[in-house]
């Protein structure tokens, strides 16, 4: 059996003296799609920040050697008046010079962002456009794994659909691994192969069909959660190709 791409064991996270995440263990295989769900304040973003080495943690986080990570953070509090264009930002990524302007334009087309927008200052474009730019940045050097922290927050409805489809397509075409934080349970049900639920008192890992039940969700969120998903098959990111 091959080593997983990511192995997390007995992970605990604190903010100051306050414990946020307690004793979480999971692993992610190459090509898998792990969705992380849970109420606000459960530590989902903190978990991502621990995975990229930005915050201290207890326990073990082990990435497979040589893994390239594409990270799309939750909405950024960006200084609005800096003369840095979308292209300045994309070209700032190590590896951008190897794919050139044509490659960058192709990535922008993939995320549905017109190249004209990338010539504008990143402070002057809309929140949704900036979010697409962050996804484009993450894709620049063909990452092995994508960490997406609510990547469609602030993006319009067609844009959300496009980004979800793009991520699903990249998984199929490049066997990319995806870790996704999302509050959209129907997206989680459709695209995830595994779900990690972080509740205040309750942590669970499993297939969408076993985790995304009304009883489990109520335990995670601490209140009744209505789940409306069309049962077109769980974790079937590549179903449209089959």
């Amino acid at each position: 059996m091959t080593d997983p791409l990511l192995r997390v064991e007995h992970l605990s996270l604190h903010v100051g003296a306050t414990p946020i995440v307690r004793d979480v263990t999971f692993s992610v295989a190459a090509g898998e799609s792990l969705a992380i769900i849970g109420p606000n304040g459960a530590g989902k973003t903190l978990l991502f920040r621990a995975l990229i080495g930005a915050v201290p943690f207890e326990g073990t986080i082990r990435w497979k050697a040589g893994i390239r990570i594409g990270y799309v953070p939750q909405k950024l509090d960006l200084t609005r008046d800096v003369p840095i264009t979308g292209f300045d930002f994309l070209r700032a990524k190590p590896g951008a010079s190897t794919i050139g302007g044509t490659g960058l334009a192709a990535i922008l087309a993939d995320v549905g962002l017109p190249t004209a927008i990338a010539h504008l200052s990143i402070g002057s474009i809309s929140g949704g456009q900036f979010q697409r730019l962050l996804v484009a940045f993450a894709l620049v050097d063909h990452p092995d794994v994508l960490l997406l922290d609510e990547p469609t927050a602030g993006v319009d409805e067609p844009g959300q659909e496009r980004l979800n489809e793009l991520v699903a397509r990249l998984q199929c075409e490049r066997n990319m691994t995806v870790l996704l934080i999302s509050h959209d349970l129907s997206v989680v049900f459709r695209h995830a192969t595994q779900v990690l639920c972080l509740g205040r008192e309750h942590v669970c890992v499993g297939a969408p069909r076993t985790v995304l039940t009304s009883e489990r969700l109520s335990a995670i969120y601490g209140e009744e959660v209505a789940l409306h998903v069309h049962d077109t098959g769980e974790g079937t990111a590549c179903r449209w190709q089959r």
Partner: protein, 255 residues
């Protein structure tokens, strides 16, 4: 001013304009200003020990850069408070350790006589080092500016980058003390960059305009000082501030 002095001043100005771009975008104009005052006690100690004031100022500025870096890393909330305390303490200690004419010269710069060959070499190499750092690391600085977390995922050591940047900032202040003094050197870093930010549409433009404007106001201010027999530092900063306000008004009108 001799040609050699003008070349040195232009090299320092170019470094100041470039390093200032990221100071303005990182919103650390206030931190930079406070940091420049840290040089004062260093100058006082150097004068007391009969060593070159530039050495004392540089050592103290590097230390100040370390302090600001350490506090920025630990607590963002405390940074402004710290800067307020550091600013006042540095002025107080500096005014106790420096006296009379030396203090005025340290604050506002003095007559820039013929630099020694050692000073010329040090200033030129240091200005080139700062220029190289900003040009070579501009991409990493951009990514870290947008998101330190994203920067970490692309292999940028954000803590080290921040420390190096602050030390380059500190070194730039040290380089300009001879011409502009403690109170005015921070302005040559911030004002041309702030002006360039209003005129630029992308990063390359901002870097080019800031560097060119810093050099232009330094040479122009020196010429005005020479003609009018006024101190060089205030002439340079007044010219820089005039450019800023003119572009500010134009920017507001076009907006």
């Amino acid at each position: 001013m001799s040609v050699a002095t003008l070349i040195l001043a232009a090299a320092v100005a170019m470094a100041a304009g470039l390093v200032g771009c990221f100071a303005v975008m990182r919103r650390m104009a206030l931190a930079g200003d406070a940091l420049s005052h840290v040089a004062l006690p260093g100058i006082g100690v150097a004068l007391a020990l009969h060593v070159h004031p530039l050495l004392g100022a540089t050592a103290m500025l590097f230390f100040g850069g370390l302090v600001v870096w350490a506090f920025e890393e630990r607590s963002r909330l405390a940074t402004e408070t710290l800067i307020g305390v550091v600013f006042s303490a540095a002025l107080a200690i500096g005014s106790m350790t420096t006296s009379g004419e030396d203090l005025i010269e340290a604050l506002f710069g003095g007559e820039a006589g013929q630099p020694s060959s050692v000073e010329t070499t040090f200033v030129l190499l240091a200005a080139l080092a700062v220029t190289w750092f900003v040009v070579a690391r501009k991409r990493a600085l951009v990514v870290a500016l947008v998101s330190p977390d994203i920067a970490r995922t692309v292999g940028i050591n954000v803590r080290l980058l921040n420390l190096l940047y602050l030390q380059m900032f500190a070194l730039t202040i040290a380089l300009g003390l001879r011409y502009l003094g403690v109170l005015l050197m921070g302005s040559l870093i911030i004002v041309p960059a702030a002006t360039a930010k209003q005129l630029s549409r992308n990063l390359s433009q901002m870097l080019a305009i800031a560097a060119a404007m810093a050099v232009a106001v330094t040479l122009g201010g020196s010429a005005v000082a020479s003609w009018t027999h006024r101190p060089t530092g205030p002439c340079i900063v007044t010219l820089a501030a005039t450019c800023f306000f003119l572009t500010f008004v134009r920017h507001q009108e076009s907006a």
